[in-house]
Every structure is written in structure tokens, then in C-alpha cells.
Symmetry: C3
Subunit: 223 residues, 3 copies
């Protein structure tokens, strides 16, 4: 993709979003993309309704672009943005598979945006409020991703949780530590991760395996 789009970073958020769970993914996208430079293009795909009635959209939020389905995946990055515009993608590729719009539709649109093509060439502006999910909370008290080390990332922004707070995950109390090297061997803890989210980790091991948690496991703030 980058080869086609040399002007700005194009970031594929496929493999770092949870399979199937649109809502969990929605809370990761603003966390992942917050440090990308203006003009960056994010390909966002958690798309269990692919081939159905959901639309293909592009969102410009605080200067960055997000391309994906309008199933709620872009709702949290939109809700937190100060400036935004949204487009329905009306361009159609010559071949559109029924199951892989990430490849056939969203990726070419990302490339066109990154090359500087005007949105009028591929889209029609829409009211961005269509992308919102009013019922979803501002922060999601659930595990939204398990990383390759077994760290359990939540949909809670660390800036919204007091460092003095304990977290309950799968019945286990997890205290706060600022950094890994201050944590106690064998004892799960939470910390503000590199993307600003509350993350439960285990020094030198897999917190997810120790606690038996998975995506969508609820977490509770125990003050």
C-alpha cells in the first residue's frame, strides 16, 4: 500500500484490531492513531457485516483520515475529534468481492486519498453524525485487545482513571504501577500504556493467560 501512496503515512489497522468485535475496535482506533502526523490515512477494518447494507465511508478527523465501514468502528474517533468531515464512498472498483472490501474498496480509497486525489472523485459528503453510536460509553470498561505478549488492553483512557484506583479483572485485583520494572513478579498490575489506554500486564508473562480473560471480558474500577 505504501508503495502506491508515497506522500503521507498509510497505516493498516487490520491486524491490531480484534476479530469480529466492532465496538472493541472503535476504542482502539483513536488510541492507535493519535500520534500519526496530519494527513495520515488509516485503513480500519472490523467488518462482520461485509457484503450487507452497511456503507463504506471515509472520515477526516482532526486532520487524519480513516477509511472503513460505517458500522460504528469510526464512532469513537469521531466523537473525540474537534473537527471532522465524512464522506460516503461512491466509487466502485471493477471487481468487488463479497467478503473482502478491505482489499477491494477501502485500500484503493486509502491510496487515492494518500496521493492527494480530491474526495469529489470518489465520495459524496454526508452528515458525520450518521457514524456515531450514541449508546456507546465514552470509555469502555472491557478488554478490547490482547497483544502478542498477553497484555490485556482495555477501552478505558488512563487519563480518566486515578492512579490510586485498583482494577478488578476476572475477579483479581490489579494495582497500578507506573512502569513494568517496578511491578512485582507474578502479580498482574495495570498501567497507562504507550497509547494512553489502561492495560493489565504481568511482569515477564501473559496476563491474559494467567487471568483467563479474552476480548470483551469486563473490567471494573475499584476505587
Amino acid at each position: 500500500l505504501q508503495a502506491l501512496a508515497p506522500r503521507v503515512p498509510v497505516v493498516d489497522l487490520f491486524s491490531d484490531l480484534p476479530a469480529f468485535n466492532v465496538r472493541a475496535g472503535a476504542y482502539l482506533i483513536p488510541a492507535y492513531s493519535q500520534y500519526l502526523p496530519a494527513g495520515s490515512v488509516c485503513l480500519c477494518v472490523v467488518d462482520p457485516g461485509v457484503g450487507g447494507a452497511r456503507q463504506a465511508v471515509a472520515l477526516q478527523a482532526d486532520g487524519r483520515w480513516y477509511v472503513g465501514p460505517d458500522n460504528g468502528l469510526l464512532s469513537i474517533v469521531l466523537r473525540r475529534a474537534a473537527s471532522f468531515q465524512a464522506w460516503k464512498i461512491v466509487w466502485q472498483p471493477k471487481f468487488l468481492s463479497s467478503s473482502f472490501h478491505g482489499r477491494d474498496l477501502f485500500a484503493p480509497i486509502c491510496a487515492r486519498i494518500a496521493r492527494g486525489e480530491s474526495s469529489t472523485d470518489w465520495g459524496r459528503q454526508i452528515d458525520s453524525s450518521q457514524l456515531l453510536q450514541p449508546d456507546w460509553p465514552n470509555d469502555l470498561a472491557e478488554v478490547v485487545y490482547i497483544d502478542p505478549y498477553g497484555n490485556a488492553i482495555t477501552g478505558l483512557r488512563a487519563s480518566c482513571v486515578a492512579a490510586s484506583a485498583g482494577l478488578m479483572l476476572a475477579g483479581v485485583a490489579c494495582g497500578h504501577q507506573r512502569v513494568f520494572c517496578e511491578a512485582i513478579q507474578g502479580q498482574p498490575f495495570w498501567y497507562a500504556n504507550a497509547n494512553g489506554l489502561v492495560e493489565i500486564a504481568l511482569p515477564g508473562g501473559s496476563a491474559a493467560r494467567l487471568l483467563g480473560v479474552d476480548i470483551a471480558t469486563p473490567v471494573r474500577i475499584a476505587c
Copy 2:
């Protein structure tokens, strides 16, 4: 690799081919590469006989290049091609490990092809029929790949299976659905995947885990 070979796409088919199973991989290569533009170069490695008597070859088929071992891996893409030519790779790298010709031999050849070097610089033309496996079927009624979602991809081209047909996989009947969003929760189904192959999937879950299937598990068309 792309950095060395800027003219055309160079695609590494390492990680999307099944480990050890050459025949299963052979049915994936034409499916994966069919949408690549003319001149693309595919690095194809499933190579359990590495270091033995099998030869290193390059195949040009319908305008695309394929580089890999002559163990049958390229036989199906060749069989389906309308125009083709094959070369034995006679160039030798300064250092050739006994176990990783993908790195030491095939990748440099891919780069040279992509840079536009003449095949006479590294190869000697051979009769391409040497690459064929006459005993292998036109479509393989087996699971040939399990993707990261747990979808079970078969070696059957969807265009050769009637949409009205049911499939039996691990004793479970799987009906056809056009798209994921029309499938029934908890119920495995088959559909024509984005590369034109028959794929058994489970809405929101892993079909492979539910059905206990793996690469080489047979599938049966139950009309």
C-alpha cells in the same frame, strides 16, 4: 525486498502458504496471485525438500512471475495458465544455506527479475511440463489453509461448485451463503471467498476450531 525491486510488485507468499504441505500450497498460488498486475513477481516457498535434489525454478505464467522449488508448488498455476515459460535457476549466490533457499536464492532472483534483468543472466530455459504434477486433481477437495480468523479455505474453485450444493466437512453439513452478514450465528457455512475459493466460515468465530479441522482435512460436495 520491495526496496530492491521498485518497478513491479514483489509479493512474498511465505506466510500465507501452509507449512510443509506442498500440494495444498499449489492450489492457493493461482488464487492469491490472480489479481496481481502483469510483471508481478511472487516468491513461493513451501520447501520441505530444501537442500535435496529438487531444483530452483522460475515460471512466467500469464505475464506474472513465480520463483520457487520445482516440487509441485507451481504446478497448478502453470496448469491453469494460457501462456507460460519456465527456467531452471543456474545462478548461485556466494552463500547458500542448506535450509533457507527462500532467503539465499529465491529472493535475490525475484529482485533481479523485478529489476528487469534478463533471464539469461540467471537461468536456463526448460520444458515447463517438468513442473506439472499430472496426478493432482484440477480442484483439491481438502482444507488447504486456515486463516487467522479460523476460516477453512479449500482447494476447490467456487466457480466449479453449484451454490445449491452443500459441503460436508468433519461430518458437519455446511450450506452456502453469499455473504457473512446473511449467515446464521453459530452455524458454519461455505461461500466463495475473495480469491475465488470455497471457504468454510463461522459468523463471528473460528470454523476450524468449531469443526476441529486442519490443513488436509477432506471436504465433500454433497449435492
Copy 3:
């Protein structure tokens, strides 16, 4: 990263190093990087002490660059180098997370080195012997990595083990084979892998699963 640093190869050794185990990783780095051209830059991260007292360093060894923590990870590549120089990284990024110096500190330094910036712009030269771990052996008789096929890579250089030697791993004797295709089905064996390390493999299967071994499992040379 490569996009930012077009002059020389920049290699990310994140995903091919074992999680948490600094010592195991130290024996992989010289093996992985030995064939990279002069000027290459390796981003080396196994960093359980991130956020603590350990320093960020850059090492130039035999013409290649290595950037990472000074926790011992770079000690073996340094010990084996004929020429070397080391720098403490004194540059600070605007935002430095407490847990991901790979992204926030090491990667930007790699990019600056690859662009040809002078080390005086970001570092202060130090005595490289600070990076050594005198107690660590020249070769490590342990599993240091399990690859995606289930091959168990050890910290032993194959050039230091006689081909006539047997290896004991998890109570199982493993004889030597030159190449995979000469090994016996179902029987684990060892061979000199493509990076010069002793590796225990199983033809067509996962040696690690068969033998029940993991990173840090000891291996014994049985002459």
C-alpha cells in the same frame, strides 16, 4: 521505518526475538544480523526493564548499527565484534511513553542513523565494555527461540559443535542431519540453521510441540 530512512537497510528485530528473555535474545542478534550489509541499522528490543534505570544505547559493531537498551541484549554481538564503538543516547523525544521506548526512542534514533546524521547530534560516546555481560557464556546451551514452524533454535553456534555430536533436548537424543530432506519422518534432529545456529527440527512437524520445549529449555551436547 524504512520510508524514513532510505539510505541503508533498517531491520526491526522486535518480532524475531523472544519475549522477556534478554539473555536468549542476545545470542540471536549476531546470528540474525551477520549477513546484513555495512551500515545496516538494527532496532533491538527485549526490554523488560523499560522505564527503569537501564540506559538507551547505540552500538556500532563491525560496521553495523544496533540500537536498544543496555540490559545485556547487545553484549554478544559486541563480544564477537572486531571493531566497535558505543554511544549513550542523550536525545529525548518530545513524548516518551513509559513502556514503549522501541517506538518513541529507539526507532527515531535508528532513522536518524540511517539518514546519516552524526552521532554527536543524539549521543555521547561511552566505554563499550559497559554493554558486556562477562558472566554470560560464549555459546548458550538453551533454546533461545521457537520459530513459527516449531523449530527450536539454540544459542549454540553450529561451527562450535561437531557434526558427529548428538544433542539431548528434553530427554530426547537428536542426531545431526545436514538438510531437512535427509532427516527421518517423526524423528527430531539438529542441523546448522541458515543463521549458523544449532537448531532442533522435526521433518514436517513441530519439534517444540513434540518435545514440549520452550524458550530457556536447556540443551546438552552428548558427544
